[in-house]
């Protein structure tokens, strides 16, 4: 209770200080819009639906791309961890591509797919896939061998071992890899949306970009707040349950 109060008080004070600083007009209002202006923008764009529709466009792109990336990265990561040949080929490729910020794919994606949803999806998938692949590979590779040995003595082989031992045992790595994949996907989508305007729908990144084009800093700030909010919610909804499960079952923290 007391801690909640401190946190609330802190953020209220922060907003108040922000408001007073802007009111004092130390800086020009274009440099820093006040909380009132940001609030107004948020309210107005909530009412006219532009915020909701942009958030939906962005989330749809993110979800689909992320899902594809995870669905491909999981089995590929398992494979590269179990086969030396795959690891020396696909694994090395993944290592290289993982260090490539996926926004760098944007020019090629635009040429290949046009200014279309597919281009965005491609960028998001590139952001997710390699990072998930590598985390899963790492997780499986670093499994204590005792688990598979124990399973083998109990008669488990092949796919049964994969499904009932290797997959659950590498869970903590898989979750943290998926979390990192999410962070990268989110970052690359925002970067791509800010960088290119799509014909097929304006996402939050576009709103941000338009805010800059119009020198409307209250729009920029408002959209940033929405992005933070979505990020926090995604974390809560997508990953917290898994982490709580791991914590409870394995006694792991984080």
């Amino acid at each position: 209770m007391k801690r909640l109060f401190i946190a609330t008080a802190f953020f209220a004070l922060l907003v108040l200080a922000w408001h007073l600083l802007v009111r004092a007009e130390i800086w020009s209002p274009v440099l820093l819009p006040g909380p009132a202006a940001v609030g107004e923008y948020l309210w107005a764009s909530l009412l006219d639906g532009s915020l909701a529709s942009s958030s939906w466009v962005t989330l749809k792109r993110l979800m689909i791309g992320y899902l594809i990336g995870c669905l491909a990265g999981l089995p590929l990561g398992m494979l590269t961890a179990r086969s030396n040949t795959l690891n020396d080929t696909l694994g090395v490729l993944a290592l290289g591509l993982q260090t490539l910020p996926s926004v760098c794919w944007v020019p090629l994606a635009l040429i290949w797919f046009g200014q279309s949803e597919s281009a965005m999806l491609f960028v998001v998938v590139m952001g997710t896939l390699w990072s998930v692949l590598i985390s899963v590979d790492n997780g499986v590779r670093n499994l204590p061998p005792i688990y598979t040995r124990a399973a083998r003595t109990m008669g488990s082989t092949g796919f049964h071992t994969l499904r009932h031992v290797i997959l659950p045992a590498s869970m903590p790595y898989v979750i943290s890899g998926m979390k990192q994949g999410w962070a990268f996907a989110w970052r690359s989508l925002m970067a791509a949306e800010i960088y290119v305007t799509l014909l097929s729908g304006y996402g939050l990144g576009h709103l941000l970009h338009f805010g800059r084009e119009l020198n409307a800093m209250e729009q920029v700030t408002g959209v940033m707040l929405v992005i933070v909010l979505i990020g926090l919610l995604a974390d809560k909804i997508l990953f917290s349950p898994w982490e709580r499960f791991l914590h409870r079952r394995w006694g792991l923290n984080g």
Partner: protein, 309 residues
């Protein structure tokens, strides 16, 4: 990859910019339900707005556009990069509409004063950028991505104004309406004015031009008719341009600004092959292109080419 448009649909691209006069006027007709091209081609027309030539080229490469208004440099660039395959010019649209402006406090009086100064252009490799580099080279400055006797800085039009106002830029080579805005809002001085160089063209995707020859010719004809109409209905056209810009960008363009800008622009439906050849060579010299191929294929579908006499 996006499929070619279904029959009965024509996809046209343009900028929300006064140098795309024909597009703005035609689109304002479409908005009233009596579309200029729609009526003459018996097609549904869908308009797409871009704000940079390379995006138009990307869209054409990706087959998501059939025809577009664009500047000559990005068009040439796309033509050369695709080994002459993807891009065809149909007609001229607007000439001129560009100027080199200098900051009143920059101390630039003569061309020699540009040494060490910062000169902004709207975009790397666009028409003004190529021209600026060619002009600077002609004045004896070494300018490239690694040589900076004059700093040529590709900067977005929206940013140019504020940077210029803050004195971060000494000179700007840009198109209308930015040139006039710089004059009116930031006190920029005109150093050079360009009323003649090709600024906007009507282009088409090769596959479109080759498979739908008749439609392509009708499109060019309608464009020529529109150009003539704008010349003869200057006031109505100006009103339509202002209204259309308000619709597209949400920003008001004052009548004075438009008039000032309009004065620097020359309407045309012709393409001067020599100018294109010159631009091509300048782009080559600036290092943007590695080859300067023959332009015959580019102009194959254009019926109004003015060849050198």
């Amino acid at each position: 990859r996006p499929a070619p448009a279904p029959d009965g649909l024509l996809r046209l691209g343009h900028f929300p910019n006064v140098t795309h006069l024909q597009a703005l006027v035609a689109r304002s007709f479409s908005r009233e339900g009596r579309g200029w091209f729609e009526e003459r081609l018996d097609r549904e027309v869908r308009w797409f707005v871009y704000n940079a030539g390379p995006s138009v080229a990307e869209a054409i490469f990706a087959r998501s556009l059939d025809a577009a208004y664009m500047g000559p440099s990005p068009m040439l660039n796309a033509y050369v990069r695709s080994a002459g395959r993807e891009m065809r010019a149909l007609a001229g649209a607007v000439n001129g509409g560009a100027a080199l402006l200098v900051h009143p406090n920059s101390g630039i009086r003569t061309a020699a004063d540009f040494r060490g100064k910062k000169l902004a252009t709207p975009q790397l490799g666009n028409t003004q950028d190529v021209q600026a580099r060619a002009w600077l080279s002609a004045q004896g400055f070494a300018v490239s991505l690694t040589q900076h006797e004059v700093y040529v800085l590709p900067t977005k039009n929206a940013d140019q104004l504020s940077l210029f106002a803050r004195g971060d830029l000494d000179a700007i080579w840009t198109t209308e309406p930015w040139a006039s805005r710089l004059e009116m809002e930031a006190g920029a001085r005109v150093f050079l004015e360009d009323r003649d160089t090709c600024a906007t063209l009507l282009v088409a995707r090769t596959a479109f031009a080759e498979t739908q020859t008749e439609l392509t010719q009708k499109l060019a004809a309608a464009h020529r008719e529109l150009t003539a109409w704008i010349s003869s209905h200057a006031d109505e056209a100006a009103a339509r341009v202002r209204a259309e810009l308000r619709e597209l960008t949400g920003a008001e363009v004052s009548a004075e600004l438009l008039a000032r800008a309009r004065r620097r622009m020359t309407l045309t439906d012709q393409i001067e092959a020599v100018q294109l050849q010159t631009l091509l060579e300048q782009a080559h010299a600036a290092g943007f292109l590695r080859a300067s191929p023959d332009l015959t294929a580019l102009l194959r579908h254009c019926t109004s080419v003015r060849q050198p006499s």
